[in-house]
Amino acid sequence: MREFALTDMERLGAFDEADRTFQMTEEAFRVFYELTARPVRVYLARMTGDDRLADDLLQETYYRFLRANVAFDSDDHRKNYLFRIATNLVHDHRRKPFMEIPSAVIPDVPDAAAAARNAERAARRLDLHRAMDRLKPRERSMLWLAYAQGWSHEEIASAIGVKTASLKAMLHRARQRLLKSLNTGGRS
């Protein structure tokens, strides 16, 4: 219950300390963040179905990543570790029953044909979001990492904590469930 508050000077001091506390410098972090923030943010939004929660989890994901005491041997290893943290955070929140469908922003359109195309695309995405929301969190993770991020089976298995041998069958079942849900308009 006791609250700790930092003075302005302590906040400034936190920057100096951060370079020692975190596993990378601010400059290196900026580069890494620019490369990964959007994919991770989209992943979190799709996994949770909640934009505000995705924002919170994004901050938490990078915080845990910065504090991780792991020797990364490549950029891919670093990126996979980041997604693994995000996946674990999402699974920690998976008991939340209500999933908000993120609103698709439809840009201004110059003509009727483009408007129709955009409307069709928006409807398709909405159907996809609804179908994804009906899957189990692990199925959502697998499908997104496999077919939106293009990860290998080994990378996905490592990120979500299953055996590679089991993953193919799990992916197959998840695909079937997604397509069935899409074909029935989400009424499964």
């Binding site: 900026r30 993120p102 939106a148």
Partner: protein, 170 residues
């Protein structure tokens, strides 16, 4: 090849995610996907997810790197401050428990001496007060006052201790 697995599926996914599917990729792969239910299914799912991913990445707002770094730095500082004060909190708790224990031990040791103290008070009263009834009444009153005082003292120590442990987050 079984129904859940195809050696070409990663090639199909890569072709979709790089925007080469189906026109700009290997014709034999497209021909294979027409025959292979797994690859056809994977291509359909991947096209849908890729479209959603592309649009979401374009639309989505992410906080600036500096903002995320700043929040993480401040939080790390808060957590280190919290961790640094934890031993002090523990020391306070241990000290308070020792003081309480010593007070209870002293009270337990002194309690059997209470009748003797009362007798001394009565004797003084007999010697210096005008009647034995007044002395006896004074001794009785003094005994009650001492008991109330002991309970009040114990409460005065116990209440802050109880509040300390309830309000402490450790």
């Amino acid at each position: 090849m079984n129904s859940v697995d195809c050696p070409h599926e990663q090639l199909v996914v890569n072709a979709v995610l790089t925007g080469r599917w189906p026109e700009s990729c290997d014709a034999s792969l497209v021909a294979h996907a027409k025959e292979c239910a797994t690859c056809r299914e994977i291509a359909n799912v991947s096209l849908l997810l890729r479209e959603d991913n592309d649009h979401s990445r374009f639309e989505m707002h992410v906080p600036a790197a500096g903002q995320v770094w700043w929040r993480a730095a401040v939080r790390a500082r808060l957590e280190s401050t919290h961790a640094a004060t934890r031993p002090i909190t523990w020391m306070h708790g241990i000290t308070a428990a020792i003081v309480l224990g010593m007070m209870l031990a002293a009270l337990t040791a002194l309690w059997p001496m209470m009748p003797d103290v009362m007798n001394v008070v009565r004797a003084i009263g007999r010697d210096y007060l005008p009647s034995p009834e007044v002395a006896s009444a004074l001794a009785g009153g003094l005994r009650q006052s001492l008991m109330i005082g002991a309970i009040a003292a114990a409460l005065l120590v116990l209440t802050p201790l109880a509040l300390y442990f309830v309000l402490s987050d450790d």
